[in-house]
Amino acid sequence: MVSVINTVDTSHEDMIHDAQMDYYGTRLATCSSDRSVKIFDVRNGGQILIADLRGHEGPVWQVAWAHPMYGNILASCSYDRKVIIWKEENGTWEKTYEYTGHDSSVNSVCWAPHDYGLILACGSSDGAISLLSYTGDGQWEVKKISNAHTIGCNAVSWAPAVVPGSLIEQPSGQKPNYIKRFASGGCDNLVKIWKEEDGQWKEEQKLEAHSDWVRDVAWAPSIGLPTSTIASCSQDGRVFIWTCDDASGNSWSPKLLHKFNDVVWHVSWSITANILAVSGGDNKVTLWKESVDGLWACISDVNKGQGGVSAVTEGQQNEQ
C-alpha cells in the first residue's frame, strides 16, 4: 500500500528537519541542520536540484510552500530566530523578505489558505506567534501574539477557509467575510485555537489533554462537512484527534488515536483528510485511518526509510 517511488539524495550535510512538496507535487523543498534549504524537481521520479538556498545562520526547522496563485514562494524558519521568505523570479530563487522579530528559535511556519491572501503564521520558542501579511509592493505587515504559549510555541496550523453562512447565496462580486482561524501547540502542553476578530487575534479555545510538550498540530483539510478536525501529537507519546461538530467552534472533544512509546514529532493529513501520517521516535512513520464506526486504525507502517509496506494485522489495531 505504500511503495517508494523515488529516493531523493538531498546531499544535506546534517539532519533533515522537514521535507514538503509543493501544491502540484512537482517540487520538493527540504531543510536541514546544515542551514540550507534545497529545492528539487521531482517530476516523473527524477531528482534535479533546482536551488540551494543559504541565508540562515542556524538549523532550519520547517519549510512551507505558498499557494501557486501567488507565484513560487517558499517560507523557512530557523533556530537563528529568523523567518525567510524566498521567491522564484525569472527562474532564480531569491530572498524576498526576512523577519527577525523573534527572540528565540522559530519552530514552525504555516501559510494561511489562499483565500485570505498571503499570510504566514510563525511560532517561536519565545512563546510568541507572529503573523506576516503581504500588503503589496514587497511590504509585509506584522501582527504579533505575545505569550501565546508559555515556554514556547512548537507548531502552527491554519484552518481551511470556510465562508460563514455559506448556505446563503453571496451576491457575486462581493468578497466574503472569512473567519480566520488557526491552531497552535506549545510547551505548556496546550493546543490553542486563535480567531481573528476585528483585526485582532484572540484566543478562542484552549484544548487540554496532553501531559507534555505539544510537538505538532495539524488542522484537517475541509471535505465539505461541517465538522472540524485537528490532530495533535506530543512529547508524551500521545496523538489526539479533536473534533468539533458545531459551526461556532465551541465544543471540541478529543479522541486518543494511540499512545506511542516514544516522542511523536509530526502529524500530517492527506489532501482528502482521511489518512493521518504520524511520525514518531525511532524513525517510525505510521498511517492511520478512521473507520466508519469512528475507530482509528493503523493501516500501514512505513518502514525505516525503505518505505516498505507492511499491512498491519487486525491484532495491531489501536488500543484506547
Binding site: 511503495s3 517511488i5 531523493v8 533533515i16 520558542s125 519565545d126 521516535g281 512505513v302
Partner: protein
C-alpha cells in the same frame, strides 16, 4: 522569557539544629498520592539523613519531618535518588561510608559492599542513568568506585594515577551506561574527565575549559551533549562532553556558583546557586534578559544553614554586593540547538497520494572512530489505500484516453453485482449512445414495444371494432387495440404506461373503454386534432342518447347525415339546424335534399311542407312541381303565388314559368 515566581513560602523547618550539606528532592510516592510533593532528603552535618515532606513545609505545618536516621559517622555530603526505583536513596559520608536507604523501610539501610580501602570521605555519589543497580561513588582523592548492588560489591575502580584531582562532581552519561564524568576542584587540575568503564585505565577525554577548580557539574538528561559546569573562575560553561567543545558560556556575575542543576521539567532551564546567596535561573534557548529575574533567596540560604562546602563549620556571612544592573541585551542561544528541538523524523502528504518521509538514523556512538558520512535521504512514496480502487482508476484512465466509453460501461454493467450499480452503468452507457432519451425510457422499463407485446396476448385482447381476439384484422393499427378484459386496477397502470411512452391513442382508447369519457376527450385534445376527431367518432359510437346525433352533427358538421337520416316528423328541427349551421355552399343542397325526402317519403301533409324547403333551397322547378301537385286547381291562387315568387326571386327565371302556369 517567562515569569518565574520565587516568592518564598513559609519555610519553617522542623529541626534546624544541624546544618545540611546536601539537599535533594525525590519524587518518591508522588504518584501514589501520599506525598504530593515528593520527599526532601537532607544530609546533615552530624551524619543524619532526614526526610522532609515538602508539602507540609509549603503548607506551613510544624511537623514536617517524615523520618530521620543517624547512621553516618560524619557529615553526609553526597546524596542521590535512584531514577528507576525512586524509593532508593544513596548517601555517602566519611570513612567510605555508603548507605542505600529504602524510603519504604527507612530504619535499616543497606550497604553496597565492603568499604573501600583506604577509608576516605565520599564527596559524590550517583546512580547510573541506564542501569538501575549500578552506583558510583567518588572521593576527593579522585578515586571513583562503581558498585553493583546485585552482586553487592564494587565492580571497578577508576582513578587517574597520573594526576591528583580533588573530585567535586560525578555524573553518569544519560545515554551510555558505561560512561561518566568526574570533575576536579583542584586549581592545579581544573578539569572534567570523561571515563568509559570499558577502558578504565585513563580517561577517554579531558575537558580543560575552566581556569580554576570546578565546583559542580550537571549533565542534561534531555540532551547528552550538554554538560554544565561551574567553577571558581566564576564561569558557568556548557560543554559537549562527547567532543570536548565548549558550546556556551552563560553570562554570570563575578560570583562563584557552587551548585548547578538542570530543570527536570523544562530541559532548557537551569538554576545556579552562588555564594552571595543568590539562585539564578537561566535558559539556554536564548531570549532577552528583560524578563529574567534574579531573586535574592536569603531564606533558602538560612534553611540550608549557610552551606559551606569546604566543611570548615563556619557560617558564611552574607555578602553585600553593589547592585549590578542587568545588561539589556539579547541572550544568544546555543550555537547548536539542543536535542529536544531537533526534529529527526517527519512525513507529509502531497498531491496525488504521495507521501514524503524523511528520517535521520541515529549515529553510532563509537568513541574514537570517525563518524561516517551520513547520507540524508528523503523518500517519496505512493500511498495506495485501496489497490482495487487504483486498478479501477487505471482502467478508467485508459477508457477516457481511448474514448472507449461505451465498451467501458458495458464491462462495468457485466461486472456489476448490485442492481443499482447495473442501472447506473447502463444509464451512463446510454449517455454515450445516440437517441439517448428513448433508451433511457427503455431502461426505466417503459417500452413502447412492451405495450404492444402486452396487447398481443391471445384471449385477453379484442379489437372493439372488429371484435377479433388476439390480432386485429381491421385497418386500425395495432396500437389502438383496446383491451377488453381487464380489471379496473390494471387500466390505470396501462393508461400510465401509455402516457409515459407518449402513446396518446392507446391511452385514449383505454379511457374510452373504461368509460372515462372526460379523461378520453381531454387527452384527445392534447393529442392533436387528428386524434380528437377520431376520438369524437369513437365517443359517439359509444354513447347513444337521444341527442347524440345532433351533437355529433354539430361537432362533425355532418349535416347531410342528419338531413338524410332524421325522422321526418322532426323536419322542422332539421331545417332549423340546416339554416343555423349549414355553410352557404351546401345550404341549398341540404334544403333540397330535405325537400326531396319530404316529398318522397313523407305523407301528404309533409309533402306540402316540402315546398318550404324548396323555397329555402331556391329550387324553383321543384317548388313549382311540388306546389302544382299540392294544389289541383285554383289557378288564381297559384298564379298569385307564382307572381309573388317571381317577384321574390327574380324576374328572369320566373318569367318563363309564369307563362307556363298561365
Amino acid at each position: 522569557a517567562w515569569k518565574l515566581d520565587c516568592s518564598p513560602s513559609d519555610t519553617s523547618g522542623g529541626c534546624l539544629s544541624c546544618r545540611y550539606h546536601k539537599l535533594i528532592w525525590g519524587p518518591h510516592s508522588m504518584t501514589a498520592g501520599e506525598r504530593v510533593s515528593g520527599v526532601l532528603i537532607a544530609g546533615g552535618e552530624n551524619g543524619n539523613v532526614i526526610l522532609y515532606d515538602p508539602a507540609k513545609i509549603i503548607a506551613g505545618d510544624t511537623e514536617v519531618i517524615i523520618a530521620q536516621k543517624d547512621k553516618h559517622t560524619g557529615p553526609v555530603r553526597a546524596l542521590d535518588v535512584n531514577m528507576f526505583q525512586t524509593n532508593l536513596v544513596a548517601s555517602g559520608a566519611n570513612e567510605s561510608e555508603i548507605y542505600i536507604w529504602d524510603l519504604n523501610n527507612f530504619a535499616t539501610p543497606m550497604t553496597p559492599g565492603v568499604k573501600t580501602q583506604p577509608l576516605e570521605d565520599i564527596s559524590c555519589i550517583a546512580w547510573n542513568r541506564q542501569v538501575q543497580h549500578i552506583l558510583a561513588s567518588a572521593s576527593p582523592s579522585g578515586r571513583a568506585t562503581v558498585w553493583d548492588l546485585r552482586k553487592n560489591e564494587p565492580i571497578i575502580k577508576v582513578s587517574d594515577h597520573n594526576n591528583r584531582m580533588h573530585c567535586s562532581g560525578l555524573a553518569w552519561h544519560p545515554d551510555v551506561a558505561t560512561q561518566m564524568v568526574l570533575a576536579s576542584e583542584d586549581d592545579r587540575l581544573p578539569v572534567i574527565q570523561m571515563w568509559d568503564l570499558r577502558f578504565a585505565s585513563s580517561p577517554l577525554r579531558v575537558l580543560e575549559s575552566h581556569t580554576r577548580g570546578i565546583l559542580a557539574i550537571a549533565w542534561s538528561m534531555a540532551d547528552s551533549e550538554l554538560l554544565l559546569s561551574c567553577g571558581k573562575d566564576a564561569k558557568i560553561l556548557c560543554s559537549n562532553p562527547n567532543t570536548g567543545e565548549v558550546l556556551y558560556e552563560l553570562p554570570t556575575n563575578t560570583q562563584w556558583c557552587f551548585d548547578i542543576q538542570w530543570c527536570p521539567r523544562n530541559p532548557a532551564v537551569l538554576s545556579a546557586a552562588s555564594f552571595d546567596g543568590r539562585i539564578s535561573v537561566y535558559s539556554i534557548m536564548g531570549g532577552s534578559t528583560d524578563g529574567l529575574r534574579q531573586k535574592q533567596v536569603d531564606q533558602l540560604s538560612s534553611s540550608f544553614g549557610n552551606l559551606d562546602p569546604f566543611g570548615t563549620g563556619q557560617p558564611l556571612p552574607p555578602l553585600q554586593l553593589p547592585q549590578q544592573t542587568a545588561p539589556q541585551s539579547v541572550v544568544l542561544p546555543l550555537k547548536k540547538p539542543p536535542k529536544w528541538i531537533r526534529r529527526p523524523v517527519g512525513a507529509s502528504f502531497s498531491f496525488g497520494g504521495k507521501l514524503v518521509t524523511f528520517e535521520n538514523a541515529k549515529p553510532q556512538q563509537q568513541p574514537g572512530i570517525e563518524q561516517q558520512q551520513q547520507r540524508h535521504h528523503v523518500y517519496v512514496s505512493q500511498v495506495v489505500t485501496e489497490k482495487e480502487f487504483l486498478a479501477r482508476s487505471n482502467q478508467l484512465q485508459e477508457a477516457v484516453q481511448s474514448e472507449g466509453f461505451i465498451s467501458y460501461c458495458q464491462k462495468k454493467i457485466d461486472m456489476a453485482q448490485a442492481d443499482f450499480e447495473k442501472n447506473v452503468w447502463a444509464f451512463l452507457k446510454v449517455n454515450f449512445e445516440e437517441d439517448s432519451r428513448a433508451k433511457y425510457l427503455e431502461l426505466l422499463g417503459y417500452r413502447k414495444d412492451d405495450l404492444r407485446n402486452k396487447v398481443n396476448v391471445p384471449g385477453s385482447w379484442a379489437c372493439v371494432k372488429c371484435f377479433a381476439a388476439g390480432g386485429c384484422i381491421c385497418q386500425r393499427t395495432i396500437d389502438v387495440i383496446i383491451y377488453m378484459h381487464c380489471s379496473l386496477a390494471d387500466v390505470d397502470g396501462l393508461i400510465t404506461q401509455a402516457l409515459l411512452t407518449g402513446n396518446f391513442e392507446s391511452a385514449v382508447d383505454l379511457c374510452l373503454h373504461d368509460n372515462r369519457m372526460a379523461d378520453a376527450i381531454i387527452l384527445a385534445i392534447a393529442g392533436g386534432q387528428d386524434l380528437l376527431s377520431r376520438t369524437q367518432e369513437k365517443y359517439f359510437v359509444k354513447m347513444q342518447s337521444k341527442i347524440t346525433r345532433l351533437i355529433t352533427a354539430v361537432v362533425t358538421k355532418n349535416w347531410k347525415e342528419i338531413v338524410q337520416s332524421c325522422d321526418l316528423q322532426n323536419w322542422r328541427e332539421a331545417l332549423a339546424a340546416v339554416l343555423t349551421y349549414a355553410r352557404p355552399d351546401e345550404f341549398a343542397a341540404l334544403c333540397d335534399l330535405l325537400g326531396n325526402r319530404l316529398e318522397s317519403e313523407g305523407d301528404s301533409l309533409l309533402q306540402t311542407q316540402a315546398c318550404l324547403c324548396y323555397i329555402c333551397a331556391g329550387n324553383v322547378e321543384k317548388l313549382v312541381a311540388c306546389w302544382t301537385k299540392a294544389q289541383d286547381g285554383n289557378s288564381p291562387l297559384s298564379l298569385q303565388v307564382g307572381i309573388a315568387v317571381k317577384k321574390e326571386v327574380g324576374s328572369n327565371r320566373w318569367g318563363s314559368y309564369g307563362v307556363q302556369i298561365k
